[in-house]
């Protein structure tokens, strides 16, 4: 049997922890250690040679992060290693967070859905990550664990800037907690084709006693559209809600779309959200 190592990989290292505690100790000891989950973002970076990191912490041995559970108080707890396919198969997700199932259904092709994880989508923090608006609209909490303890960060405070999150180098995303949601859930993704397309604009919302509406790919980070929510909540005409929305988003031109198209689409999505959740 021949031994062969590709040049890109020979200088890299993989740590394989025995337990979550071991993983957190390894992270504490090495600032440059990068968590590795389903690799659907990381390996694209390795392929392009754009990934600077050399040392990785394999999360796959941490089976406890693969669970979907419901607490007695109704909180849905999603482990960081839960894949999109798992979300689609889960009756708990179907019942408590159908907009996550809607998002999962449109992510990648089945090969990506079998590997890509929720923790990876949050950790990657692409402004176009499809589950980000869902968790924002759901007022979810990101559970971060380190060797020093556990920290709970509201998702609205988790994304700090373009691909920048509140996670510290010694922390792992272990779970996402979703409180019980009263009201109609809604999700829509606008891309170039049905599968394997990165969103041009993506949105999720909840309409019940309160109203939440969140968007992806219209700003450097996925965001709640607070001004638009407020306009809708005060029963102002839709045109006012559109004006509010345009004032809070900062879409850009890039290879997938233009700023003008994104702003128009964001408004169209707000209209759809409002009429389809009546």
């Amino acid at each position: 049997m021949t031994t062969w190592t590709s040049p890109a990989i020979s200088s890299m290292r993989l740590e394989r922890p025995r337990s979550l505690a071991h993983a957190l100790d390894l992270l504490e000891a090495d600032r440059g250690l990068t968590p590795m989950a389903g690799c659907t973002d990381l390996y694209v970076g390795i392929h392009f040679g754009s990934l600077k990191q050399r040392r990785f912490l394999d999360l796959q041995p941490l089976a406890s992060l693969r669970k979907i559970q419901k607490r007695p108080d109704g909180t849905l707890v999603l482990g960081a290693l839960v894949t999109y396919s798992q979300c689609l198969d889960s009756p708990l997700v179907a019942r408590a967070l159908p907009m996550l199932a809607s998002a999962a259904k449109e992510i990648g092709g089945v090969q990506i859905r079998n590997r890509g994880t929720l923790g990876g989508n949050l950790g990657n923090a692409s402004p176009a990550g499809d589950t980000l608006p869902v968790f924002l609209a759901a007022d979810a909490t990101v559970v971060l664990a380190s060797a020093r303890g556990v920290r709970r960060v509201p998702i609205s405070q988790f994304f700090l800037g373009y691909r920048k999150t509140a996670r510290r180098h010694n922390e792992l995303i272990t779970e996402i907690e979703v409180p019980p949601i009263a009201g109609k859930q809604w999700f829509r993704k606008v891309g170039t084709r049905a599968a394997n397309a990165i969103s041009k604009v993506v949105a999720a919302g909840v309409r019940g006693e309160g109203i939440t509406f969140a968007l992806g790919a219209v700003a450097p980070v996925a965001m709640r559209a607070y001004a638009a929510e407020c306009a809708l909540g005060s029963a102002l005409p839709l045109s006012e809600a559109h004006r509010a929305l345009r004032s809070e988003i900062t879409p850009i031109d890039d290879l997938r779309s233009t700023a003008a198209y994104r702003a128009r689409t964001a408004c169209a999505l707000l209209t759809q959200f409002w009429s389809e959740t009546r």
Partner: protein, 153 residues
């Protein structure tokens, strides 16, 4: 490290971060699995990991250790004996053939009797530059329908 591929155990010496795709092609000489894009878009490298389709270009070999791997060689190989392979030939679903191993692997987990829409969804992660897909969908649909009929007998 030991890999269980198509029911056979392979002993390989590989860096744990090596792509499963490279280990299969270079070390195990199982070259039926193809590399198109190397970034998860095309599906030419699709293999089954514990029965689920994944892109072998995005899987570090460490993640395949101790699990069961199925490649096109394990499905029907060059004899083309698998019902899906025969259906692809009959329907002209392969032209240059580059996407075919990945298509067949993805198609192999589609349930018997699946409808066109389900088939389209299951194959959405497999790109083909030649056939325009209709022959592929037809081939899978016919093979899965036959299988449903065989089961019913």
């Amino acid at each position: 490290m030991k890999l269980r591929i198509n029911g056979t155990t392979f002993r390989v010496e590989a860096h744990p971060l090596e792509r499963l795709l490279d280990v299969l092609r270079i070390q195990c000489k199982l070259t039926g699995t193809k590399e198109g894009c190397g970034e998860g878009e095309c599906g030419a490298c699709t293999v089954l990991l514990d029965g689920e389709p994944v892109n072998a270009c995005l899987v570090p070999v460490a993640h395949a250790e101790g699990r069961s791997i199925t490649t096109i060689e394990g499905l029907g190989g060059t004899e083309g004996s698998h019902p899906l392979q025969r259906s692809f030939v009959e329907q002209g679903a392969a032209q240059c053939g580059f996407c075919t191993p990945g298509m067949l692997i993805s198609a192999s987990v589609i349930p018997a009797g699946a409808r066109r829409e389900e088939i389209r969804c299951a194959l959405a992660g497999n790109l083909c530059r030649c056939t325009g897909y209709s022959a592929v969908y037809r081939a899978v649909e016919l093979a899965r329908a036959k299988r449903a009929r065989r089961r019913a007998r």
